[in-house]
């Protein structure tokens, strides 16, 4: 039986959205790590290692 649907652009859109969302999540984590490091540098805090 021949496929009745072949909407590749929907497939690429789905894969692209998932990839962008995950990259965005990691980027946000990285940004928060950097902000935290700046906060640590500018305040006399001691953290447990």
């Amino acid at each position: 039986m021949e496929p009745t649907l072949n909407n590749m652009h929907f497939l690429w859109a789905a894969y692209l959205i998932v990839a962008i969302a995950n990259i965005g999540f990691v980027w946000r984590l990285k940004k928060r790590w950097n902000a935290l490091r700046t906060k640590e540098d500018h305040s006399p805090v001691q953290t447990r290692e």
Binding site: P3, L5, N7, M8, A14, V18, V45, T47
Partner: protein, 229 residues
């Protein structure tokens, strides 16, 4: 971060690359849907993972509620784990909903329908968004309120899982275990993506957990300095 953290990151990315290649170029074309069905190789693993992380959140939240007076150091770590799993759950559930809608439009002709699977999954999304809003905007009791909320979110997960077994839904019946089982040539791509998305989710939880713990330590330290000053 330790070595295991980066090994898990690398392993997840390698599995994702191989899994995606398998899903797009190796797995056979589905007889009726054509290539649009390949969304399945990301949609299903993301959704299965999105039903596992809420349980980690639930266990961590319940343990937090029981240990917050007796073992505050452990309770802080459990709270950080609950927060990390909640954020990753929101990410995964939203991606599950979006990929499902993108698949539904060409296959069903509609973006959305209020069937039991879709509605219960949307409810799970809303519950975890509420969880994060409570964490963000509530004052000193936010961790406790959020932990209680996570119990209700945990109740929704088995309803999501069983919805396509209990009711006749527009959403397809179980393809992994049901009558219309997956063709054996499709299993390698599915299993690779399943492992990839689960490990990637675990890595995200780990990264978010480490950040939450460090934030707690910094806040604690600043508070101590203020008291001492």
């Amino acid at each position: 971060m330790g070595r295991t953290f980066w090994i898990l990151c690398g392993l997840s990315l390698v599995l994702l690359l191989i899994g995606t290649y398998e899903a797009i170029f190796v797995a056979p074309v589905e007889a009726t849907m054509g290539s649009i069905y390949r969304i399945f190789y990301w949609h299903v693993p993301i959704n299965i993972s999105a039903e596992i992380f809420p349980y980690v959140n639930l266990l961590a939240s319940v343990a937090f509620l029981f240990t917050r007076h007796t073992k505050p150091a452990l309770a802080s770590k459990l709270d950080a784990l609950a927060l990390a799993t909640a954020e990753v759950t929101v990410l995964y559930v939203s991606l599950g909903l979006i990929t499902g809608m993108i698949w539904a439009r060409p296959v069903w002709g509609i973006w959305w329908t209020w069937d039991e699977r879709l509605t219960s999954f949307l409810l799970l999304f809303l519950l975890y968004v509420s969880y994060l809003l409570v964490r963000q905007f509530s004052s000193n009791q936010s961790a406790i309120i959020a932990a209680v909320l996570s119990v209700f979110a945990g109740i929704d997960v088995p309803i999501v899982f069983m919805s396509i077994r209990w009711w006749r839904t527009q959403h397809p019946a179980p393809v992994l275990t049901g009558d219309g089982s997956l063709d054996r040539t499709m299993w390698p791509a599915f299993l690779l993506n399943m492992a990839a998305w689960f490990f990637w989710g675990c890595w995200l939880v780990w990264a978010r957990y480490a950040l939450a713990v460090r934030e707690q330590e910094v806040e604690e330290s600043i508070a101590l300095n203020v008291v001492e000053a």
